[in-house]
Amino acid sequence: MREIEYREAIREAVIEEMNMDPKVFLIGEDIGKYGGAFRAYKGLLDMYGEDRVINTPISEGAIIGAGMGAAITGYRPVSELMFIDFSTLAMDQIVNQAAKIRYMTGDNLRCPLVIRTQGGAGRGVAAQHSQSLEAWFYHVPGLKVVMPATPYDVKGLLKTAIRDDNVVMFIEHKMIYLLKGPVPEEEYTIPFGVADIKRQGTDVTIFAYSNMVYKSLEAAAELENYGISAEVFDPRTLVPLDEDALIASVKKTGRLVVVTEACERGSVASDVAAKVSLKAFDWLDSPVKIVAGLNTPIPYNSTLEQASIPHKADIVNAVKEVMGI
């Protein structure tokens, strides 16, 4: 199969959906001539014009408001927040407005809005440009949360997101835009709530999403050297979460390590760990371990930055621990 970059997969998804549905449009900062901060929208302004590729002022609240207002009146906007860190300027529109409108109006109004953004550390861009904030959105009823790791997943899930009738937080990772992976030429979509086992294993389940899938796969490869067969479980969507598949995996392996790049305290990892600890209590041979970012604003200095987020070695060690070696 051909291999394309993660950002190219995003671009393809958007193009296919825009071609199919005239109600789909894009709105955000520097998405015009500039093609988006990570160039995922390269050339789209020329293809679709200013009416469907709307380059905005720096007004995050209004960017989401624009998306929501269009969504409740029949359009299917993709609003972009350049960094998830800037969602802080749009939380009312995301959380109090978009996420709630359907439920607080008894399904009178629907809001088919995709909010594309990206997070994560690793580029030396310090505390205000490196956060992993998915836990906030995970906690808000009315938001779906999608965090694709591969070009294949990002394309199939973005298409599904655009077609979904609800608000979808679509969270990419800044370190993987240039990463290549197989993506079929033919059209496909990926349903929400269906996990993908990125690597089969029998001794331990490693739950990981977004960029941490790669670190987990590296860890799993190294763990082979110790005779440990690790399963890498990628939920792909955090809301809805494929709990059944996860419990099944844990029942098979008897052990779970949950990985997240986000700060450990109050992370999605804790939530997953708590769920599994409850629901698979009798199948767990050892307590669920969490591998997460430190509870610190991400520092600029590279050594400190790297020390703030999980790496292969941390995952390997955690697995060894739950394996009792």
């Binding site: 449009f25 002022p57 408001g65 207002g69 906007p77 529109q93 407005q97």
Partner: protein, 322 residues
């Protein structure tokens, strides 16, 4: 602008009185705890909704606030479904999920009351894009009050509406207070309409107690918007006759000020008088109108009271899908 027809004037009065009576009833029901949560009556401000909504079509959109009953009624909402919502019933606009601060209806083009002060203003940008993109001449009216004009989203939204020439009419109902905060002490310019110059759009001041005046300025702004010339900001000077909510004695206000507005600027009193003076309606006709309205309001209460509560099981079932 064309002269107003008799029918239009009668309709103004009907809308104004309907809102007044509806609000009075909600206050009563609040006092006996049939309505609860927060209730923000629109008493004193009725002419703005009446004049504004008369200047737009059924297919146009409105965006409302926490003090939103008047907007819905003027846009043509069904009193029964409104009252049912206030009583938390399954027949309400939001099936009892929203209550006073969240009434909304797709059919009605009513894009939502809002519990967040200023929360609706950015949504106007999207509704505006929608109107512009579909190019059917539809417009969006966005209501808010003085307090909301200090929320940052006001700035973001009006700037964006201007930059993209969106067909949005911003109607600021300056009732001089945001809870206890006086507009004079919280807004760094004499008139909120002044702020229009920051956004390169017309800024107009109008007497919010006069439905015809409101209708006039809104009509011009609507014409402008429909012809692709973009947004306008209208500041309707008005007054909240009661406290912020029924339990607020509003001690922060000067009694004389309150008296002045109640005696000089009551849209119900003034507009009744005007229509009588103009011989458009006589006392008798107005009385009939009042009675019809009274009945409609009472019917809405009966409807609401007789309506079933939302089903708990169904709610619990639905929650699973969120």
């Amino acid at each position: 602008m064309a002269e107003l027809t008799r029918e239009q004037k009668v309709e103004f009065l009907k809308t104004i009185i309907t809102i007044r009576r509806f609000e009075e009833k909600t206050i009563q029901l609040y006092q006996v705890a049939k309505i609860w949560g927060y209730l923000h009556p629109y008493v004193g401000e009725e002419a703005i909704a009446a004049g504004t909504c008369a200047a737009i079509k059924k297919s146009d959109y409105i965006i409302s606030t926490h003090r939103g009953h008047g907007h819905s009624i003027a846009k043509g909402a069904d009193l029964n479904r409104m009252m049912a919502e206030l009583l938390g019933k399954s027949t309400g606009y939001c099936k009892g999920r929203g209550g006073s601060m969240h009434i909304a209806d797709t059919e009605l083009g009513m894009l939502g009351a809002n519990g967040i002060v200023g929360g609706g203003i950015p949504i106007s940008v999207g509704a505006g894009f929608s109107c512009k993109m579909e190019a059917q001449g539809r417009v969006t009216v966005c209501f808010f009050s003085d307090g909301a004009a200090n929320n940052g989203v006001f700035h973001e939204a009006l700037n964006m509406a201007s930059v993209f020439t969106l067909p949005v009419i911003y109607v600021c109902e300056n009732n001089m207070y945001a809870i206890s905060m006086s507009a004079c002490e919280s807004i760094s310019c004499k008139d909120i309409a002044n702020r229009a110059s920051s956004y390169d759009m017309p800024g107009v001041i109008v007497d919010g107690s006069d439905p015809e005046a409101v209708y006039g300025v809104v009509s011009s702004a609507v014409a402008r918007a429909r012809s692709g010339k973009g947004p306008s900001l209208i500041e309707a000077k008005t007054y909240r006759f009661g406290g912020h909510h029924p339990n607020d004695p509003a001690e922060y206000r000067d009694k004389k000020e309150v008296e002045y507005y109640k005696s000089e600027k009551d849209p119900v009193i003034n507009y009744k008088k005007k229509l009588i003076d103009e011989k458009i309606l006589n006392e008798e006709e107005i009385k009939m109108m009042e009675e019809k309205i009274k009945k409609a309001v009472e019917d809405s209460v009966r409807f609401a009271e007789e309506s079933p509560e939302p089903q708990l099981e169904r709610f619990l079932e639905e929650v699973k899908s969120i």
